[in-house]
């Protein structure tokens, strides 16, 4: 997927990656890369400003934790973030469903 398309969906992918619990930046990036089968070509650094922005919007919270003797900053969804994810997921499904319907029936 071209980088500009990825950027448009980055927020949704980040919220989805944190849906099942807190993760640090590297783990988030690896999660997206692994589940997408490497379809997204994006620099890892892209996620940090986006995480910072989502935290500023109150959708995520973050804290430093000790993981096997290493200090890592982990992010997790807030209640507002959970609600935002549910809304954006529905929006994406409607959007993708609409495009698929047109593609299939044309």
């Amino acid at each position: 997927m071209p980088r500009e398309h990825f950027s448009g969906h980055l927020d949704l992918l980040l919220l989805a990656a944190l849906r099942r619990g807190p993760r640090h930046g590297y783990a988030i990036s690896e999660h997206i890369r692994r589940l997408s089968g490497g379809r997204f070509d994006y620099p890892d650094g892209t996620i940090y400003p986006a995480l910072n922005r989502l935290e500023g919007d109150g959708l995520l919270s973050s804290r430093w934790v000790d993981l096997n003797g290493r200090r890592r900053r982990v992010y997790e969804l807030t209640r507002k973030g959970e609600s935002a994810f549910a809304g954006r997921q529905r929006e994406w499904e409607r959007h993708a469903g609409g495009i698929a319907a047109v593609l299939e029936q044309s």
């Binding site: 640090h24 930046g25 590297y26 783990a27 990036s29 690896e30 620099p43 890892d44 650094g45 892209t46 940090y48 400003p49 986006a50 910072n52 922005r53 500023g56 290493r70 200090r71 890592r72 900053r73």
Partner: protein, 144 residues
């Protein structure tokens, strides 16, 4: 200097904002690179190659810094707006309480002496009158 150190140096040179915010990002990026390098070396990739790949995969430090600086500035502006809103709300609530209190107290007659004792200037002027001199004149024996 290693590739990783070079990357972090280039990044920190372009970051704006508070020391705390910059340190936070640097610590996160450094941890990310450590994990990426370790994951590659665990798969048998050489240390040097793993470092090169991790740094390249992370992207351009200038682009990251620009993007990060924008989000930080946005968060700071949002924080300032929140602080301003708190000040305005507090002032409004204080004003309403003062007006309410004044309206309730307005029907009662306040003793003049007590009322006067709450005025600092009145007390200050009266003390000088008691001393037999003007509040604006220096005491005897002082001044030129």
């Amino acid at each position: 200097m290693s590739r990783r150190e070079e990357f972090l140096d280039q990044l920190v040179a372009r970051l704006s904002g508070s020391d705390r915010a910059r340190e936070r990002l640097l610590d996160e990026v450094s941890g990310h690179l450590t994990d990426a390098i370790e994951a590659a070396t665990d798969l048998g990739v050489g240390e040097s190659e793993a470092e090169r790949t991790a740094v390249e995969q992370f992207g351009d430090p200038a682009e990251l810094a620009t993007s990060w600086n924008m989000t930080q500035a946005r968060r700071q502006r949002a924080g300032q707006r929140r602080a301003a809103l708190i000040v305005v709300t507090t002032a409004a609530v204080t004003g309403v309480l003062a007006v309410t209190q004044h309206a309730r107290g307005g029907s009662k007659e306040t003793p003049p002496a007590r009322h006067g004792s709450h005025a600092p200037e009145a007390g200050y002027t009266r003390w000088h009158a008691h001393q037999g001199r003007s509040p604006h004149r220096p005491p005897p024996g002082r001044g030129s």
